[in-house]
């Protein structure tokens, strides 16, 4: 089926998320939508899928204008979508998720689970998946959950398939498998929209590439274009894709983690016997697919996890068992993974957010009263130093773009005397310009002799910043390897294969 979008415009209040976007996807073609975070790719696909109603524009399937009142209509018309955030009910089984919305029933209104199971098995067999129809979705690894999403779309005979950033949650090898699946689907005649901001993937599978920037189509690119060309089209200017840094100068001080075990509320051991050391002046990057214990590791470092055993020492002082306040007082800076949720108070101003962790005494508070003049002076200095682009220090942080929000968090965390710096996903959802800036600051912190731990699920970022890379899988450390380890080896390690085996497999 041929898909055509004509002049789609979608606004959120004053923000124009999609500005007269035209797009044609032919059957038997993989069409890549390339654009930075926030460019408007997901919005466009949600319009296509009937989740959002566009202010202007038409959706055409085989040259016929469609009216979608909701996703049900879009689905009935043959559009399937694998969402960026999986649309699966976690406590349902695979079969239940696949049948939901188009259930077959037997006498007495009973669900026909057998039919759904058979359908899951049939589609799985076609693509060489191994998916148990009776497995509960939340127990499945993300890679398999994604296949459930694909099965879900195919079980409704979708001819147009949208993959919204499907690779964000996958290891490099799982990504390769997904690409093979997409090619197979294309060869069967499906029209495929593949959304990503990773250039490597685009060049690998795309038949055509459309680049979106700030809600507008800025051009088509050929799959043979170079990384630099694609990146500058995407960002709108030439960008520096590498991080410059000198060899590390190691100091004696540092962080030492021994046999750290973190158990979550459900009794799952999310960090399982992790030990490592980071010296002052060194960056340890923690790589791994999202959800393999990295988040909990960083939260344990700062004292946010409840059930922790093992030892964390900073410059010889034990941190396990101390309150967050006392850990911060030891000079730990922390950039949390989810800045809007854990890093900032959206309704507070920039100035207020910059002093959030300093409210317990001078110079920000004296005799119980906020020192407003000092606070504002401090804020003005920091937004200049950290290049926060905002109208002023009184702007609520929630109104800033992702990159500027993150710079506020980084500014706050870096403006204390640091003896350890921990950053989780420091550049997620941040524009390329801000990425450059934040990376430079992290390297500057390292060069000042501070031990730095950076968690990143983007392998490129981990490799760029790291002096050493620690790969985590299922809460355990798979290995700690030098930063120049080949990507293939790192990718296999992210799937839980030991460094030795991974090296063997890559050279074989």
């Amino acid at each position: 089926m041929r898909l055509e979008l004509r002049g789609i415009t979608k606004r959120f209040g004053a923000l124009v998320a999609n500005d007269h976007i035209d797009l044609v996807v032919e059957p038997g073609e993989i069409h890549c939508l390339l654009g930075e975070n926030g460019a408007g790719k997901s919005t466009l696909m949600n319009v296509l899928y009937g989740l959002y109603e566009a202010e202007e524009g038409d959706i055409l399937l085989d040259d016929e204008v469609q009216r979608f009142a909701g996703p049900g209509d879009a689905m009935a018309a043959g559009i399937g979508m694998v969402h960026q955030h999986f649309m699966l009910v976690p406590v349902f089984t695979v079969a239940e998720n696949v049948m939901l919305g188009h259930e077959q029933t037997r006498g007495g209104g009973r669900l026909d689970l057998d039919a759904a199971r058979a359908q899951v098995r049939e589609i799985s067999a076609r693509f060489g998946f191994h998916v148990d129809p009776d497995a509960v979705v939340e127990d499945l690894p993300v890679g398999v959950q994604q296949r459930v999403e694909i099965i879900k779309a195919l079980s409704r005979n979708a001819d147009v398939l949208v993959f919204d950033e499907p690779t964000a949650v996958l290891t490099p090898q799982e990504t390769d498998e997904l690409m093979a699946i997409m090619r197979q689907l294309r060869d069967e005649g499906a029209a495929i929209v593949f959304i990503t901001h990773k250039l490597r993937e685009v060049r690998e599978v795309a038949d055509r590439i459309t680049v979106i920037r700030h809600g507008k189509v800025v051009g088509e690119a050929s799959p043979t274009a170079s990384d630099a060309e694609l990146a500058s089209l995407m960002v709108g200017r030439a960008v520096e894709l590498t991080v410059h840094k000198d060899a590390p100068t190691l100091r004696d001080n540092g962080l030492r983690v021994t046999d750290l075990v973190v158990t979550d509320e459900a009794g799952t051991v999310v960090v399982d016997g992790v030990s490592f050391e980071v010296s002052g002046g060194e960056v340890l990057a923690v790589a791994g697919v999202q959800g393999n214990g990295q988040t909990e590791l960083t939260e344990a470092l700062i004292g946010l996890e409840g059930d922790v055993t093992g030892s964390i020492t900073l410059d010889g002082k034990e941190l396990v068992g101390r309150s967050v306040r006392r850990i911060l007082d030891e000079g730990v800076g922390f950039v949390p993974e989810d800045r809007t949720h854990d890093g900032l108070v959206g309704e507070f101003t920039i100035a207020e957010n910059l002093m959030l962790d300093r409210s317990d005494g001078p110079p920000f508070v004296r005799r119980g009263a906020l020192q407003l003049a000092f606070r504002d002076r401090f804020a003005r200095e920091k937004i200049a130093e950290f290049d926060v682009r905002a109208q002023g220090i009184a702007t609520p942080v929630g109104r800033l773009s992702g990159g500027n929000q993150q710079k506020v968090v980084v500014a706050r965390e870096m403006s204390r005397d640091l003896r350890l710096f921990v950053a989780a996903q420091p550049t997620r959802g941040v524009d390329v310009g801000s990425i450059e800036f934040i990376h430079k600051r992290i390297i500057a912190t390292r060069d000042a002799g501070v031990p730095v731990v950076v968690v990143s699920t983007e392998l490129d970022e981990a490799v760029a910043l790291a002096d050493r890379i620690m790969v985590m899988y299922r809460g355990k450390v798979v290995g700690i390897v030098p930063a120049d380890t080949p990507r293939d080896v790192l990718g296999l390690m992210m799937a839980g294969i030991s460094p030795e085996d991974a090296k063997g497999e890559v050279t074989a």
Partner: protein, 432 residues
């Protein structure tokens, strides 16, 4: 396909699961220890002597079982020892990071109950009727069970049904009026169903359509219905009590053969229609929730409304449907007050039963069958005071009135394990 061998190669790590440990809390052991201590204090501070007469059959029964007479003080102390032993076992298990099994809690509860009854009935010339104790429990549990079912249905769809109290009371009122006018208990029941659904409609309007905080809407509705029914009661029902407030009630319908089984027969099978309906409603709700399309969609909407939306399920309609059914079911429980228990409506006669039903929902971990058993437990606690006042127990009746609430508190606080409510419970669904 070239990806084939890679797929198999990666399968091993993909399907491997994360290590888990069993988390145990000292909550259960703590509650058991507290109750044991209170019980022992009671025996020491207010010792009773004499015998307790346990009556197992009724005079009308086909099979006659003689009255069991036991010396009260020794029996009470034997039970105390059992309580202590179970508490000790629970403590040891917890220390070894193992869970206290449910059967131990059941043994504990049975011992606590026996001991308490032995103590309370000591020296009384009258018999302590076990049938009265259990049959009354079934009867008293009716509003709790129906209310809890209504709570479960609503919350599984993502709408917290705090308004159970309002549904019970509104239904009790409506059933009284309709049953009085029509001289038909069945008509009263039908009216109760509608009244419950009507309260739900208001809840749905604010909670689903206007995204108002569901807890607030529920509480406001509860207060509103108390006020409204009290007003109508004093202005309309009291002046014409003869025509509007003297209901036709359901009478007990013994089921042939089954009702002659000793003890269980009269407890389960010599009850009014509304109770038999309850026996059917519990498995029916379970089946509907877990085995039908209606239930699958309802649960999807309560767990992940957006996922349901993306497969073409109308979230708002599904939630309205669930909330209306929930209200109707809770309404059946309300009918109990005026078509089974009493033949007239009284001001605020539900007296907080809706909140106990809500506790049963949580105690039952959002499962209709478990919630019904929780309702039964609370019904038992409510009935205890009636039975004891008949025996002429020395316990002040005001004290006994607290029992159902204390049991609820202990049960929900101490014995509910880690349970997970439906993920989207209480969250309005806003599209886009």
């Amino acid at each position: 396909m070239s990806a084939d061998h890679k797929t198999t190669q990666l399968d091993a790590p993909l399907s491997e699961t994360t290590r888990t440990v069993t988390l145990v809390s000292w909550k259960t052991a703590g509650v058991l220890a507290t109750v044991t201590l209170l019980y022992a204090l009671l025996l020491v501070a207010v010792p009773h002597s004499g015998d307790t007469r346990f009556l197992l059959s009724q005079r009308s029964d086909f099979f006659q079982i003689p009255v069991v007479v036991l010396p009260s003080a020794p029996l009470a102390w034997v039970c105390a020892v059992v309580l202590l032993a179970v508490t000790a076992v629970a403590a040891v298990l917890t220390a070894r990071r193992r869970r206290t099994p449910t059967w131990l809690v059941v043994v504990y509860s049975a011992a606590a109950l026996t001991g308490f009854l032995a103590w309370a009935g000591a020296g009384s010339p009258r018999d302590l009727s076990i049938v009265g104790l259990l049959g009354g429990a079934v009867l008293w549990s009716v509003p709790f069970v129906y209310g809890a079912l209504g709570g479960v249905i609503g919350e599984r769809a993502g709408v917290v049904n705090i308004a159970i109290e309002a549904q019970l009371l509104g239904a009790a009122f409506t059933a009284a009026v309709v049953s009085s006018i029509t001289d038909s208990a069945v008509a009263g029941l039908a009216a109760a169903l509608l009244a419950g659904a009507l309260v739900s409609l208001v809840l749905g309007l604010f909670a689903i359509t206007y995204h108002v905080n569901q807890v607030i809407v529920g509480v406001v509705l509860n207060v509103l219905v108390v006020g409204l029914t009290s007003f109508l009661y004093s202005q309309v029902l009291v002046p014409s009590a003869e025509t509007l407030n003297s209901t036709t009630r359901f009478t007990a319908v013994p089921i042939p053969v089954l009702s002659d089984i000793p003890v269980l027969g009269p407890v389960l099978f010599r009850q009014p229609l509304l109770i038999y309906l309850m026996f059917l409603a519990v498995p029916a709700v379970w089946f509907a929730l877990n085995r039908t399309r209606w239930g699958l969609r309802l649960r999807a909407v309560g767990e992940h409304p957006k996922a349901a939306d993306t497969v073409g399920i109308d979230v708002v309609r599904t939630r309205y449907n669930a909330v209306l059914v929930a209200g109707a079911v809770a309404g059946l429980g309300g009918a109990f007050y005026t078509t089974v228990q009493l033949s007239q409506f009284g001001e605020n006669m539900t007296g907080g039963a809706g909140y106990i039903a809500l506790a049963a929902v949580i105690f039952g971990k959002w499962d209709p069958v478990r919630a019904a058993f929780a309702g039964l437990l609370f019904g038992f606690a409510s009935n205890l005071q009636n039975v004891l006042s008949v025996v002429g127990s020395p316990v002040p009746s005001q004290f006994m009135l607290m029992v159902p609430y204390v049991v609820t508190l202990l049960a929900v606080a101490g014995l509910v394990g880690r349970s997970r409510p439906p993920a989207a419970s209480g969250e309005p669904y806003v599209k886009g």
